[in-house]
Symmetry: C2
Subunit: 562 residues, 2 copies
């Protein structure tokens, strides 16, 4: 089996090494064409992917894995509000662990190169299937077509390769053997030492409802490459993207001569969750979790003796101090805060503005003026259905609509509604669950409203005493509630320096003075570190050395040689 | 301040780089002469160290650190059974954390090079003070003079430098900045990205009673180098070695222009422990723990949100299958199992022997014969007081004598006493607390006796059905009770291969067929990985990338450039 796998390593080695170089240099890099029209499969690949997705609708999902005790699945498309009609195998949890442990023995002792070769081939095959996967993401998470291709497809695959590059570096750092000699008294002891990388065990990878692949690919590939098995536990509302990924992993593993049971799918229902059972299972050695901050904190506290890697949520903050052009800032914020209806862990939520207004060019714009500019820019995004659809896409969960309703009420009581939320009519999917953003203006004392993640298209404009107070409040809220991204606009070098220092301590990744075509919260694989681990928004970074280095351990054996 | 620190980096850079090379190659390396007579200070350094220790006895330990609310200290020398008569500052815990946080701000933003320079200078100064420290170790832990110099001195310092080399590599892996550009639609976005290493916060380092410096130096230096502050919490019976180390750290930090409060000492008493308070303190970000498996498990479970690095204890196992020469194996086991009265986390405890005996040269030696050979070899170690003293040294805790008494009783009831324990008279310290080993022969069903660490000079010979059963029992016991080292004697390649595979999974570091002048459990800095993290004997390895990579996090800031 190793021959096939090593062939795969040879096939992908140049890509893996280039990715490693990119990780060290952090400049722009991708292994993939980022627009569908440049996919190596051509237009026929797009058609075939869409056809495969359509053919799957209403049918059982074929996944030949052990321990099947039934079938389940009740996904609903946020675009059509119709059931996908797909049922998946429901697995006996113990049977998955038993199969995973059995499968691990030969995988654990395969060389890192062999495992990396297989993992890179998995990435390659996932790229082949990216159009089908994009449809699956679209009709479970509610992402737009372009985002489900680029964000959940190629960018997520790059993030996976990034994790593989770090795994490659970490494993290469441990030599296979060494010759050691030293005098003890009058004799020389000469020992040949062998070092063996030992996987931790079975990893459980929890994926979220709105962006499943983006965190899953790095976690699954990092665990696999370092010799572990992976049980994937998708959110019950977004199974299909992960079922496709699991099936691809199993096919590649089997073709390379390894057991497909290194990657399996474990499903549950909202009514009967298995999450805690998986985390506390005696065979669980690693937990990767993406989801709510509340359950993420439970994972971090209860995963022991398994190690845990979490990415949850938080309040992403914007501080406005001064700028050249208010309209371009408002436009960038509007696009970013509308993007995928702010159902991303990187979406900004809270905008902190000094009560005295912000300096714009040579003059001062009042808070009212800032509010107007934001409302105008937001309206421009949502006014035209085609543009709204391309940016807002659909709302994944009906719970988000309930939340909007509750916060609208609070907003009226506690502050002012700058822009009210309303459904918009998607041009291609008239039944789509949609909502334009709710933008509230509140005083700092409404912290109970804004100092927690409000998942969905909800923004707060918070008046503070002054610019220093804006920065202080924003970073305090990040430290308290967590935060992944942050955005500051200032023309003053000393303010930017203070912001860099304060956000570094608070642990949110900062973007300064950005306007223009790039969504403010765009995270570039190989270049942007995602999540610092310094605040409640998660304990793991995609991807740094610490994301991979503890997924394997080092055993050694030494013996005398002449 | 950075200029002074950078000068220190220049001074020590070649040593640090050589250590880094050694870590990657894992061949023999040291920065120090391993015998006292080759210390760079010459004979006068040894005399001065001994004199400093004597002068300290009966006097207050001068340590000018914040938050002192009293004095305490009641250490007793295991060699003289007399009180050292030294009292140390007792600190208000909150005051130490406040001082540490204040001290951290400039330290956190100093360059990695500046911090590494200071840390290497600390090592250098600890080497200057190694003779005094060795006396302190001897008269608190009970180690022999040579061990307290080499094991707790130079070897521990090398282990510290090893951690610094890994910290250097991990921090160097993150670039300071990058230029990133990509097309978005028709425009190019060009961002300058800055990456900043952010320390986790305040680290608490718990040190043990019998080998305090060996785990403390790597932990303290790894935390410091990555920008954290360290509060050192010594075992109440072995304060002096750590008080000396803390004082040295503070002096070097202050001389380099940093706050000495980056390293402080936090003491408690057996009656009023502060351990859990420190671990659950809201400011605690990292816990390094060396000590009992029971408290270590508590640390791992309760340290969250702090990250924890533990090294506790376990049953270290020996499997006898076949050998050339029974006497040389027995001699090596006798020396190693007597070394420092087996008060090391690497001391072998359980010897598994097939009921049918072991192949020796061309013939089969019965279990009785093996027992006789071991008893003879053990007696040879302890028979002559001078030799006994150089190997056994003293017993750190009176509790060990109680344990010997209890296990002697159990041994009579449950098996046979192959060799009884007795005090021996130390030639230089007639009052010394000493005990020769208790060696028991038991059946496999006495697992309640032998399948846990029995800290002190206690060994078990366990009869198993056959050689495969011996290996199976030994590795099962390691998985259940933990284990750091393991030893196998076999002339059969397939048995050695099976042992390598089984111990790799169980997570004990294996030594095969070693006899001769090197103590079997000798762990070489830069070459031997200590603790795998795969069993209950601890979750951290001295030293691998995962020991350092998560002690800092990465914050980034990006902004547009023309």
């Amino acid at each position: 089996m190793t021959a096939a796998a090593l062939h795969l390593f040879d096939k992908h080695e140049a890509s893996l090494r280039a990715a490693g170089t990119a990780c060290r240099e952090r400049s722009y890099f991708t292994l993939f064409s980022e627009t569908p029209d440049r996919h190596r499969g051509g237009a026929s690949a797009a058609d075939a992917g869409a056809a495969a997705f359509r053919a799957q609708l209403g049918h059982r999902f074929e996944l030949d894995q052990p321990g099947t005790i039934g079938r389940l699945g009740d996904e609903v498309s946020p675009y059509t509000l119709e059931a996908l009609g797909i049922d998946y195998p429901r697995a006996d949890v113990d049977a998955l662990f038993t199969a995973a442990r059995l499968a691990m023995s030969p995988w654990a002792v395969a060389t890192p190169q062999a495992r990396l070769g297989v993992c890179m081939e998995i990435v390659d095959r996932l790229y082949d299937g990216v159009f089908e996967s994009a449809q699956a993401v679209m009709h479970t998470a509610g992402q737009s077509g372009p985002m489900s291709y680029a964000g959940s497809g190629t960018n997520a695959l790059d993030r996976g390769v990034e994790a593989l590059a770090y795994a490659h570096a970490a494993m290469t750092d441990v030599p296979r053997e060494a010759l050691w000699e030293r005098r003890f008294g009058s004799t020389t002891i000469r020992l040949r030492k062998r070092y063996q990388l030992v996987p931790r065990g079975v990893a459980v990878c929890f994926t979220c409802a709105t962006f499943p692949t983006w965190n899953a690919y790095p976690a699954m590939l990092a665990s696999l490459a370092t010799g572990n098995a992976v049980i994937v536990k998708p959110h019950p509302t977004a199974i299909l993207p992960m079922a496709l990924a699991v099936r691809t992993c199993r096919e590649v593993l089997a073709a390379a001569g390894f057991s497909p049971d290194l990657v399996t799918l474990c499903l549950d229902t909202v009514a009967e969750p298995v999450g805690k059972l998986l985390i506390k299972h005696p065979q669980t050695a690693i937990v990767d979790f993406t989801g709510s901050a509340r359950f993420g904190a439970w994972v971090e506290q209860n995963a022991h003796p398994a190690s845990s890697y979490t990415e949850t949520s938080g309040v992403n903050t914007v501080v406005l101090e001064s700028m050249d052009d208010l309209e371009s800032v408002a436009r960038s914020l509007a696009v970013t805060m509308n993007l995928f209806s702010a159902q991303m862990c990187t979406s900004p939520q809270n905008i902190y503005v000094p009560r005295g207004g912000v300096a714009v060019g040579g003059r001062r714009a009042s808070v009212d003026e800032v509010c107007d500019a934001l409302a105008t820019a937001f309206r421009a995004v949502v006014a035209e259905p085609k543009r709204a659809a391309s940016i807002l896409a659909a709302v994944q969960s009906p719970a988000t609509l309930d939340l909007l309703g509750r916060l609208r009420e609070s907003g009226v009581r506690r502050g002012a509604i700058l822009l009210d939320s309303a459904p918009y009519t998607h041009p291609d999917f008239p039944a789509a669950r949609t909502a334009t953003p709710l933008l509230l203006r509140v005083a700092p004392d409404a912290r109970d409203l804004y100092c927690e993640e409000r998942f969905g298209p909800i923004g707060f404009l918070i008046e503070t005493d002054d610019a220093a107070g804006a920065l202080e409040s924003a970073t305090a809220d990040v430290r308290a509630a967590g935060g992944i991204t942050a955005f500051v606009y200032s023309q003053r070098d000393e303010f930017l320096a203070a912001a860099e220092a304060a956000y570094a301590v608070a642990g949110a990744q900062l973007t300064c003075n950005l306007t223009g075509a790039m969504p403010l919260n765009f995270a570039a694989s190989y270049s942007d570190y995602h999540v610092t681990g310094l605040n409640p928004a998660g304990n793991a970074t995609l991807t740094d050395a610490s994301f991979v280095a503890a997924r394997f351990r080092i055993a050694q054996s030494r013996r005398p040689v002449a």
